[in-house]
């Protein structure tokens, strides 16, 4: 995912006819709606399509809306617990898949861990809905744990990817050297592997957090009544008619995501 700097100077697609305009078109298509959304979040009027002047009032409205506060808090709780749990599990899985002798079926394990990335979210959502319904019927418990468990589950492959990549890139000879210098396996893990893996773990944590924070489909299916997260709350608001308050919340959410993803990229390149 890094930007390659060793470019071929002799061949540049810039000289192909129409390439530059195509590139510009792509960027416009990608970012024009988002730019419009952010601009209209500063609209002073109540209409989302009619510019009436600059104002921060919708940010204030959103900030003071108790419902928004509640769902934001819930989103942060779910995302925090889910991302930390998922990252812990992913770290162990990554160590297990890279720091052992070669064993039969390691490719299968790798594929199984990454497979959820390919499964359509709606399928995962429906599966969890049915699975949890059975448990709910059996236990009578309807708490937030289901949502946290669901988020943890789909965050694991996202956290696993950067951690595994970092482990594979790390020279195993360092761990060998530590053992040569009288470090037991536990000391080697604590003093060498984990400190060097740390940027990968943080990157995985960020990614898992953002993925959890942004999730709509699975949350919508798994949540019980009164367990809206910020994205599902916004979806509900849209059905009732849109005010620039949604723009303001969206812009804030976008800001947080961009920030976290930026940190993720910086940590990756370190």
């Amino acid at each position: 995912m890094l930007v390659a700097k060793n470019r071929n100077r002799e061949f540049s697609v810039r000289y192909l006819p129409g390439f530059s305009s195509m590139a510009i078109l792509c960027f416009v298509l990608l970012y024009a709606p988002i730019v419009a959304l952010v601009i209209y979040s500063f609209n002073s009027g109540t209409n989302i399509a009619l510019w009436e002047g600059f104002s921060l009032q919708w940010y204030v409205v959103a900030w003071e809306n108790e419902l928004v506060q509640e769902v934001t808090f819930r989103s942060l709780i779910v995302a925090s617990i889910a991302s930390v749990t998922a990252t812990t599990l992913a770290t162990m899985a990554a160590l297990g898949t890279t720091r052992t002798r070669n064993y039969r079926g390691q490719m299968v394990i790798y594929a199984v861990i990454n497979q959820p990335l390919m499964v359509p979210e709606i399928v995962t959502g429906v599966a969890l809905l049915i699975f949890f319904a059975i448990i709910k019927a059996a236990t009578g418990y309807h708490g937030l744990t289901y949502l946290v468990a669901a988020h943890t589950a789909f965050c694991i492959p996202f956290a696993y990817m950067p951690i595994r990549a970092r482990l594979e890139g790390m020279d195993g000879i360092l761990e060998t050297a530590a053992q040569d210098l009288y470090a037991t396996p536990v000391q080697t893990l604590r003093r060498i592997t984990l400190p060097l893996l740390w940027p990968g773990i943080l990157a995985g944590l960020m990614l898992a957090f953002v993925i959890s924070l942004d999730d709509v489909v699975i949350t919508e299916l798994v949540k019980s009544a009164g367990q809206d997260t910020l994205p599902t709350y916004m979806l509900g608001q849209l059905r009732r008619g849109i005010t620039p308050e949604v723009n303001a919340i969206s812009s804030a959410l976008l800001g947080v995501s961009v920030l976290l993803v930026s940190i993720f990229f910086i940590l990756r390149t370190r």
Partner: protein, 368 residues
């Protein structure tokens, strides 16, 4: 260093070690029934081409691999299956393997910390060792901020700090450029002398092995071919591979026609034969190969006096020496290095008839 090596204690003993790497599709024999005795305070080199098993042997001593059969002993104690972190043996790795998240000092003190030595002692030892490798100024640097030669010194200091019984060096100089490498060769000999630690050095560079070792083992295809001092290995190679891998050699095919208690007569052709002092090896084969170093032969224009005759095929001037390639009447090529002594330069034209004179004392019968 006055006591002869042969009387010192045995530091490392490899007792018929075999290592077979098994995978689903193949099995590779990296070491084939290797036995070696490395003595205390010896600079012992494992020399061989890449893939010959010398690094595997080092890894067996360090404990990163365990032999498929055979034993490894350290001062008589069986360490065959001990994990690496319990062996008083340290390694200098090929690419140093310095810990990138630690400073030079932290790297050097790591082993001592793991051994739970008291803080004051660690500080003192780290200072001493950094001094020993002349890195006392750079202790607080990050390992990425120092040059390759300095990293090499830190790797050495790190491995020496716990005062291991044996120091293993895995192609430790091969990543350095020529000049630095020569400095480090001298440095290593000095360190070995000052610390009194047994060094086991792995290299594929025959020159490095000859200049640095007290004794060396030549390894090929998982087998130890010959063990000896550098001059024994160079002057009395027992196998063709050893004679070829270390220095240059000419090989002459001949037949033993006479053999008594003092002499062996080897006939190269009906017209040429040599009488070699016998007793270097017990010969059962009638056909033998004889190795001759290019600098041990001389040329003469009086062809009838020489053992072998031929025609000068090429001549290259090297300053100290001139290298001649002679095409023998048998069709084989024979290389002769003649030393250039001022006022006594010999000069033979390309294409001229020439005789090759051989000194029986400098010829070595090889076992096949």
């Amino acid at each position: 260093m006055s006591d002869p090596i042969s009387q010192r204690q045995i530091a490392v003993e490899i007792d018929s070690a075999t290592k077979i790497f098994e995978s689903e599709t193949s099995s590779v024999t990296a070491l084939d029934n290797v036995s070696l005795k490395i003595r205390e305070n010896e600079f012992f080199t494992l020399l061989g081409p890449s893939g010959c098993g010398k690094t595997t042997l080092l890894r067996l001593i360090a404990g990163f691999e365990h032999p498929t059969s055979g034993r490894i002993r350290l001062y008589q104690e069986d360490i065959t299956f001990l994990p690496p972190y319990t062996r008083p043996v340290n390694t200098v790795f090929q690419n140093y393997a310095l810990f990138p998240h630690m400073t030079v000092r932290q790297n050097v003190s790591f082993g001592l910390e793991m051994l739970k030595r008291p803080k004051g002692e660690i500080e003192k030892t780290v200072d001493e060792v950094l001094n020993l490798v002349r890195m006392e100024e750079l202790g607080d640097r990050q390992t990425s901020d120092i040059s390759g030669g300095q990293q090499q010194r830190v790797a050495l200091a790190r491995a020496l700090a716990p005062k291991p019984k044996v120091l293993l060096l895995d192609e430790s100089l091969s990543a350095l450029d020529y000049k630095l490498r020569q400095d480090m060769q001298i440095e290593l000999k000095r360190l070995q002398h000052e610390t009194g630690i047994t060094f086991v050095f792995v290299t594929h560079d025959q020159e490095e092995a000859l200049t640095m070792s007290d004794r060396m083992a030549v390894i090929n295809e998982g087998r130890v071919l010959q063990v000896g001092t550098p001059s024994e290995i160079y002057n009395f190679p027992t196998e063709r591979f050893v004679a070829e891998f270390i220095g240059d050699s000419n090989f002459l095919e001949g037949q033993i026609t006479e053999q008594n208690e003092t002499h062996v007569r080897v006939q190269f052709s009906p017209a040429s034969a040599v009488e070699l002092p016998s007793g270097q090896t017990l010969l059962s084969a009638k056909k033998v190969t004889v190795a001759v170093r290019p600098e041990q032969a001389t040329l003469t224009s009086a062809t009838e006096q020489a053992t072998l005759q031929g025609v000068v095929k090429s001549m290259v001037y090297f300053g100290t020496h001139t290298h001649y390639v002679v095409e023998l009447d048998s069709g084989d090529e024979f290389t002769v290095h003649l030393q250039n002594i001022r006022g006594h330069e010999l000069h033979y034209e390309n294409g001229s008839r020439i005789g090759v004179m051989l000194d029986p004392a400098a010829m070595q019968i090889l076992k096949d």
